[in-house]
Structure formats: C-alpha cells, structure tokens
Symmetry: C2
Subunit: 191 residues, 2 copies
C-alpha cells in the first residue's frame, strides 16, 4: 500500500473542492486532498497573487495547522473596466452580479469585450515555508448575454471559443479553466 501525500485545501467554496478532486481523479495523482471549510481573511490588494500569498501567510502565522496546506484566490479581469472586478470578484458578484457586469459592458464591442480569468494558488509546505504561488489564466470574452446553467459565479458570462464556461460540462471546463491550469501546475509540483 503506497502512502499518499495529504494536503489540506482551505476554502469555503465547495465548487472549488470538487474541481480539484476531479482533476486529481482524472490524472490519477498520488495525493489526497483534504478540505477545511474556512473563509480565510483576504486583504484588499490589487492582484489575486498578492491576496492568495497574504492569506496563506496569515494562516501559517496565526492558525495551528501543522500539515501542508493551500488556498486559492480567483478573479475576473476586464481591461475595458480597468481590471474590474479583479480581486473583489466575489463581493461584486454578490452585489451587482452578472447583470451589473453586462450593464457596465453595454456598448463595448470586439476587442473591448476581452476578459481574463486568473487563479493564484498559494501553497505552504510547513510552518516556516514561504508560500509558493501557482498561477493559471485563461483569456476569453464577455458574452453579450448570460448563457448556460453549469458552473458558478461569472461562468455564464465568460466565453471561450464560442461557448461560455456555464455551457460546458464540468469535464470540458476543467480542461480549459484558469483554476484547473493553476491546480495542474500545483499538482505537478507536489506529486
């Protein structure tokens, strides 16, 4: 019986746990992902990389977690809106939602509808380690209307090669998403 490495994923978002569990299974990685349902304090910083790193540092220094752990921060970045909603994507989604994003994008066409999804995974191997960052991005565009019922958050707005993330099966989205790209880099590092 092989001893599988265990790492703890700290997140309050069950969708994200499911995404990485499916990747681990699909790739037959020799790792067990455990889940701690905790909503980590996040700083108001301008990039998801900084937010993830600071959150990991906070947990490392303040919370008695002895095993290796990771967390992630993700954001939708729209250049025509100067990077909005960026690292505040969760709050913006809770308040103005996809409807608000569509209003802000009214009248934008062509290249001006470009958007990038980005995930930064921050991994702490031990209580003394500096968090390591693994970043995944995917470039797409903001659809003219919300389409599809899969996924969560901004998925119905984010169009990649003609389909929104919410129109893709989980398997299809997992092949393309910013989060799975960041998770894959991370899994490759630790296994």
């Amino acid at each position: 019986m092989s001893s599988r490495k265990k790492v703890l994923f700290i997140t309050s978002n069950a969708h994200k746990v499911q995404e990485i569990q499916e990747l681990v299974a699909a790739e037959s990685r020799a790792i067990t992902i455990e889940h701690l349902d905790y909503n980590c304090p996040e700083l108001q910083l301008d990039t998801v990389e900084e937010v993830a790193r600071e959150s990991a540092t906070y947990i490392r220094d303040r919370i008695a977690i002895k095993q290796p752990f990771f967390l992630e921060d993700s954001g939708l970045h729209i250049p025509a809106l100067n990077g909005f909603p960026g690292p505040f994507s969760a709050f913006v989604f809770r308040t103005i939602g996809n409807e608000g994003i569509l209003r802000l994008m009214a009248g934008q066409t062509g290249e001006d509808r470009t958007a990038t999804f980005k995930t930064a995974v921050a991994y702490c191997e031990s209580r003394t380690a500096t968090p390591l960052l693994f970043v995944g991005t995917v470039k797409g565009r903001i659809a003219e209307t919300a389409r599809g019922t899969n996924g969560f958050g901004y998925d119905p707005l984010f169009e990649f090669r003609g389909k929104t993330f919410a129109e893709m099966s989980r398997e299809e989205k997992n092949k393309r998403s910013h989060r799975s790209r960041a998770f894959m880099k991370f899994l490759t590092h630790i296994t």
Copy 2:
C-alpha cells in the same frame, strides 16, 4: 501655555487630513492632529466598521506607534445595488468610476436612487486598548449625472437636499458629510 493633546491620523488621503484639520480649527478644539502618510492594509470585509477596526488592530499589533492614533474607512452604499460599492468604494472608483455607478443605476428612479455615505473612525488610545469606533452617516441620493467640481471620489454623484457634495463649498460639505459627523463624534470623545 496649555498642553494640547496630540493624536496621529494614519491615512494616505490628503483630502481627509484637510477635512479634519478644518473641523478642528472651526471648532477650536484643543487638539493637534499629526499625519502619518501610510496606506494601511485593509481586509475584504462587508462593512466599513469592520474594516476600520481590523486595520487599527493590525497597526496596533504590528507597527511601533506609541502615541494615540486613528484611521478611518468610508464607503458609499447603494441599497438598489445591494450595498455596492460599500467597503470597496476606493477600488471601484479607481476602476469603473462615477461613470460606472451611473450605468449601474440607469433606469432607477425615486426611492431606488437612495444612497448612504458612511465613515467609521477607529481610535486606539494605547498599545493595549481595543479600538473605539465612531460612525457617521449621511443619507442622500445618486444624481442622474455627475455635477460639481469640489471634493473627491463620489462627491459629484452624491446629492443631499438638491446639491451634490461636489457642488458645495468645503465648509458647506463639512457641515453635512458622513466623515465630519464621524470626526465630530471622535473629537467630542477625545477633547
């Protein structure tokens, strides 16, 4: 010669320093406000009270400031947008600006244009004190277009009894603003 109490205002926003200095002068308060130009880390929390309290706690615990200090966090809250932009007002202003708020409010009329400005001042008397909070609010409405050139931030959008804050003189705005209401409560407490 009376010995004037000194307190340190920690903020990177010169407008806010000017506002409180003018209040202190207008009210002849026996206090000297010193200024430390520092952009304190702010957590992503849902209220300006929590953001101000956590920032003050952070400074108290991590930075060697021996004298009494205070800082403030302010936000514009629009009920029709579920409280957006709230504690993230600064980031939202930098990215989508007043133009973005107007787009989000398009079609809203009457009561639905209601908005509240809120300031929370957090004051730490000593390295062992729990931060005290002083909150000021002002209720107004989001104007149909930006008007006026005084003030800063959302002032051209925030209408109070027919005039936007940006159409008021500083003296006039100081009599009405959320920030001066919070500052006055704070000054009354410490002098």
